[in-house]
Symmetry: C3
């Protein structure tokens, strides 16, 4: 059964992404649960740090493509899905007053990588796998998610990841600034990181997090015309070909239409 | 004979910089040819990826200094040369709808590095050599080229490269984000990169490239007064000393005048 | 005795931070002396490069916490201390017309790291130690200093350094873009770097430095309300707890108040 778990132990909260049938792919209910959990954790003044992780040895394999035919199949649905549902989840992590550490094992791709990018510190296994191979599904990265990637890594990494659609290992991800540290025991290192954070003054952590967000490079907003162009892929044949190919486990044939 | 070759094979275009007498230095005719080739390739909807490379085991050694006495010797000429001729070439690469991969062997310095920086992905030999050692020629980087360097790497790399004028090897360039990957067989890895790009949906690649450019940090434009200051080097003794010294193969003596 | 030395040898100036009793901690007099020295060096047209270093095998251990009870204990004092005293020193380095190389051995933390970040090129020992562990002193990074950190490294490094308060070695600092090169003999490599800079045309170096600053990402200014929030830590119990704990060599107990 798909679920977002949230447990609180002392000053720490542990949020766990679980969807055992598909490497923790994240469906609409899970995106919404993630948003709610982080809003609740934000309001809990007793916390010092949140760790987000995946169950079953995986972080998360991205948005649940099985759902696309129902929840993301038209221009209006696609814009709502990305600009509202997913954006709300990622913003809830970014805007949470507490520091958030991502503990990353196994696959961390697509929407899973977007969740990790929205955290404050990423600890990963050298064997973790990173990427956004959606070019093979026939679509580009939605603009708000692209903005968060660019704000973290700059354009060279975004171009490499998105144009090639290659999967990177932990070392490659670290070299590109996608993760801060590699660890053999990811859970242990993430917990030690959370403890180091908890040794500092919590108000200092909150001000640092808030003003780092305030003072970092944030790409401009797109205007309405650009928004429509960014989501125009939803009306292409190649989008249907890519998503259908993925679901049918067939290699898609893209024609540029 | 100096030339920019362009060959199309299936869905790929190969642009080759060649000027065998001087490590593929790029003269005015070559800058103009590069602009025209990339405008044509941009218009060719059948392409999936462009690879740019140098002939004779070198990428490119920069702008052709031999020409400076005739095409870049006054304030007006210098501003036209950089803000129009070179800027048009680099913009044609950056604004080309297709992904562009740079395959870098040998020297990749000055204007050669600027071409590489304007591409989307850079694959290099560990033995390639990178830098912009124009401080030894008596002049600073022109503002549009500085903007493209800063947009890729940020200021620490720009300061190190420009103030010291040191030549970096492939590993040093990769550590600084100037190249994405090193490869023993650069041509082969660039081709495999192009094939990975071509396996994705072409419209997705084009939207990704376009919106990464749109949403990345772009330095502000300089005003007219700043433009004049940025090009003021053309009226210094040290500029003449540096260029003359280079052509005469003598070490210049700079006086700060 | 605490002091900022400044010696000129040929075309080079050597600025040395010295406060032997406390790993070169920087007190108000030293911040002011640093400002004055760099303003004088800026005005000296004969120079080609400035090297800044610490005495006694250390770079600098940060602002002198001993003084905080007298010079930085109220909201008004804290804003004056950071926005005027420290900002003036860091700006004098950044705006100095000459290239500035930091030669970093031993501790380079807090205000010491801020000085290093304000230089143009950082050469460090693999055994140097970097960080801003002020979360353990109960306060966040002041906004102007945060802006200079973000302008150099981007947000991932700022979040890791500030939220965890961990101390990094030279290799970790290099991986994060905090330093450009590691060297066994830091003094020697810094001098060779200065010599490479001096081999170039001085006006080219000055224009490069000036326009790199002009064209780099600079975070927005905070408004008055945000300034007050950023310095609100000065009125918290945890700030007193952190600073008193440090001076008494006791582990502080933070309550979030």
């Amino acid at each position: 059964m798909s679920e977002i778990f949230c447990e609180i132990q002392d000053q720490f909260a542990f949020v766990t992404i679980s969807n055992p049938s598909c490497l923790n792919a994240i469906n609409m209910d899970m995106w919404n649960a993630l948003t709610l959990h982080f809003k609740e954790l934000h309001a809990n003044e007793d916390l010092r740090c949140i760790i987000i992780r995946g169950a079953h040895g995986q972080f998360a394999s991205g948005a649940d493509v099985q759902e696309f035919a129902t929840v993301r199949n038209t221009l209006a649905d696609g814009m709502r899905y990305h600009n509202q549902t997913i954006a709300a989840s990622l913003n809830a992590i970014t805007e949470c007053r507490h520091p958030v550490v991502a503990a990353i094992e196994g696959v961390c791709v697509g929407g899973g990588l977007e969740i990790a990018i929205s955290c404050d510190i990423r600890i990963a296994s050298p064997y973790a796998r990173f990427g956004i191979p959606i070019n093979k599904l026939g679509f580009p990265l939605a603009p708000k998610e692209l903005q968060s990637l660019l704000s973290l890594t700059g354009k060279a990494v975004a171009l490499e990841i998105l144009l090639e659609g290659r999967i990177l290992n932990g070392l490659e991800a670290k070299e590109r600034g996608l993760v801060q540290r590699l660890a053999g025991d990811v859970a242990q290192e993430a917990l030690e990181t959370a403890k180091r954070i908890a040794q500092g003054a919590p108000l200092a952590a909150r001000l640092n997090k808030k003003f780092i967000r305030r003072l970092s490079f944030v790409p401009e907003r797109l205007n309405d015309q650009e928004q429509l162009e960014a989501f125009s892929f939803l009306e292409t044949q190649d989008y249907q070909e890519g998503v259908m190919g993925f679901l049918a486990k067939q290699i898609p044939v893209f024609t540029g239409k």
